[in-house]
């Protein structure tokens, strides 16, 4: 009934439902594909299967409690989500964060970025039909998750950042273990790179597939690695430096053609740059307090803020309206995956069914963030 309404059924060759239970839709995402043989004529994405009303829930929780809700938005880059919210509240309250806390935040966020991109690498391998990359990637990701567990006490839903700093001091052997971890991970990245990036079949599957030009990408609100793959060197860490990102020397990987391979390789390169940032942060970090002097129950003054951070998936914006009470009046999350996913309709037209999987994988969506 609903199908008939949306797509003219006269010239439909075959209509297939990709998802919500499909191995490569990366969560509960549904694509209505209208195909002619192996070609996709029309596509209609359906989201909302994971809609939990997070934004509404935020309005009924205290600021400190909201952090836990943000953990569950992009559930593979939790700390980046926490950082976005904490920074928004802090700049609303005009708090000064102790240096050490900022450094720890940056280190953990960049580690989380690496973990998130590794997840992308592994699942992307599966999407194009290679089964080994996922195991290589998860081996490295597992080390990072274990590292997180030793610091925050949780593998995924950390709830580690506080308004004004972080929850707890780091363990004693943090530096040694971190440098060991970085060595292992950077070696692992090179292995992953060798395994997949230059494989002829992988190139054949991803090069010149799902091309989105810079102007189209901007028009669709695409951000993050996807936008950089199209040739625009925009990164919030550089455009509007937040936290202490202006203190590091690192690179922004930018590609020119905007195809799937570029989106893939930009992420791989970002892992290397993140390692660079972490190493610098490690050497710059000094002892000191980890929590600013804030009241237990934060009451930001009346006002509003739109705070942008660079999550692994792109521009993560938190629009926070405060009425001066201990609960936010309105929280709106600008989820990067949400905007990135919009471009899918455009990308998939005329592609092969197999490309649908490749393209969707290369956009790297997390449904927790899309549906909120």
């Amino acid at each position: 009934m609903e199908i008939n309404k949306t797509i003219n059924s006269d010239n439909v060759d075959l209509m297939i439902n990709m998802g919500p239970q499909h191995p490569s839709t990366h969560g509960v995402f549904r694509l209505l594909l209208n195909i002619d043989g192996e070609r996709i004529i029309d596509v209609k994405p359906h989201i909302g299967y994971l809609h939990r009303g997070s934004e509404k829930l935020c309005e009924n929780e205290r600021y400190a409690q909201v952090v836990t809700l943000f953990d569950r938005l992009d559930y593979v880059a939790n700390l980046n989500m926490e950082l976005g919210f904490c920074l928004a509240v802090e700049s609303l309250m005009e708090l000064d964060i102790p240096d050490r806390a900022s450094y720890i935040r940056v280190i953990l966020c960049e580690l989380n970025r690496i973990a998130s991109h590794l997840l992308f690498y592994g699942t992307y391998g599966l999407d194009v039909g290679a089964m080994t990359p996922v195991l290589y990637a998860f081996r490295e990701r597992e080390k990072i998750q274990g590292f997180f567990e030793s610091i925050t006490g949780a593998r995924m839903m950390h709830n580690y950042f506080r308004i004004g700093g972080i929850k707890e001091e780091l363990p004693d052997d943090f530096n040694n273990r971190l440098s060991l971890l970085l060595d292992e991970v950077s070696q692992g990245i090179e292995e992953c790179d060798m395994l997949l990036s230059k494989n002829e079949m992988f190139l054949a599957r991803t090069k010149n597939v799902g091309i989105i030009s810079a102007s189209d990408a901007v028009d669709f609100g695409v951000s993050g690695p996807n936008l950089r793959a199209s040739g625009i060197a925009r990164d919030i860490r550089v455009s509007k430096p937040y936290s202490i990102y202006d203190r590091f020397d690192y690179g922004i990987p930018v590609a020119s053609s905007g195809d799937c391979w570029d989106r893939y390789y930009v992420r791989l390169e970002e892992i290397r740059q993140s390692i660079k940032i972490i190493k610098q942060a490690m050497s710059q970090m000094e002892d000191g307090p980890i929590l600013a002097k804030v009241r237990r129950i934060a009451r930001p003054p009346k006002g509003e803020i739109y705070f942008r951070t660079e999550s692994p998936r792109g521009d993560f914006g938190v629009y926070l309206v405060s009425d001066g009470s201990d609960k936010p009046y309105r929280v709106k999350v600008r989820a990067p995956s949400f905007a990135n996913l919009q471009s899918l309709q455009y990308l998939l037209k005329g592609a092969y069914i197999a490309d649908a999987v490749t393209i969707l994988g290369s956009i790297d969506i997390i449904m927790g963030e899309v549906d909120r």
Partner: protein, 174 residues
């Protein structure tokens, strides 16, 4: 206590306008030149974004001008947020110009009784899902949007869960 706080904030706002960066001054002057009739151009002192408060009927023409004028070129629509202030709804558009590397906030009020506003989907395709989401959660009709089907909620969902008067605790899902 309460008074003191608001006083502080006001004074801060004043001082912030004074210390605005040269790029922002440039943008403000550009905007005032472009929109002589618009009364409110503010700087949000926290994020240093310039706010443009307009009437809801002007939204489409303003956005068109902001995107198409060559010196402004706000080509990137970041987000459309709606805030329910009970007596009115407020639509907030966050734009970025890659050319100026500057961001702009457009605010406009929508009446609660007749929540209608022009769609900006012709200007930025990014507006598509943001507007559908706002339609879902706040019941705002975006005139000119080709397909305002429910996006996040299921078909036949009653009520607008984004609004303040939606009963969050009494709501029975099943």
């Amino acid at each position: 206590m309460e008074n003191q706080k608001t006083n502080n904030k006001e004074s801060k706002e004043d001082s912030d306008i004074l210390v605005s960066t040269p790029e922002q001054d440039e943008l403000i002057s550009l905007l005032t030149k472009r929109f002589p009739s618009v009364p409110d151009i503010n700087i949000n002192h926290l994020q240093e974004d310039i706010e443009l408060i307009i009437e809801s009927k002007n939204i489409k023409s303003t956005c068109r001008l902001l995107k198409d004028s060559s010196e402004l070129n706000f080509n990137y629509l970041e987000c459309i947020s709606l805030v329910d202030y009970e007596e009115k709804l407020e639509a907030v558009y966050h734009l970025t110009s890659f050319k100026l590397k500057q961001s702009l906030v457009i605010k406009t009020s929508i009446s609660v009784e007749n929540p209608e506003i022009d769609s900006v989907i012709d200007i930025w395709r990014a507006a598509d899902w943001f507007e559908r989401e706002a339609h879902d959660l706040f019941g705002v009709t975006f005139l000119g949007h080709p397909n305002l089907e429910p996006l996040l909620l299921f078909e036949g969902f009653e009520g607008y869960p984004g609004r303040k008067n939606f009963p969050i605790n009494d709501y029975k899902e099943w």
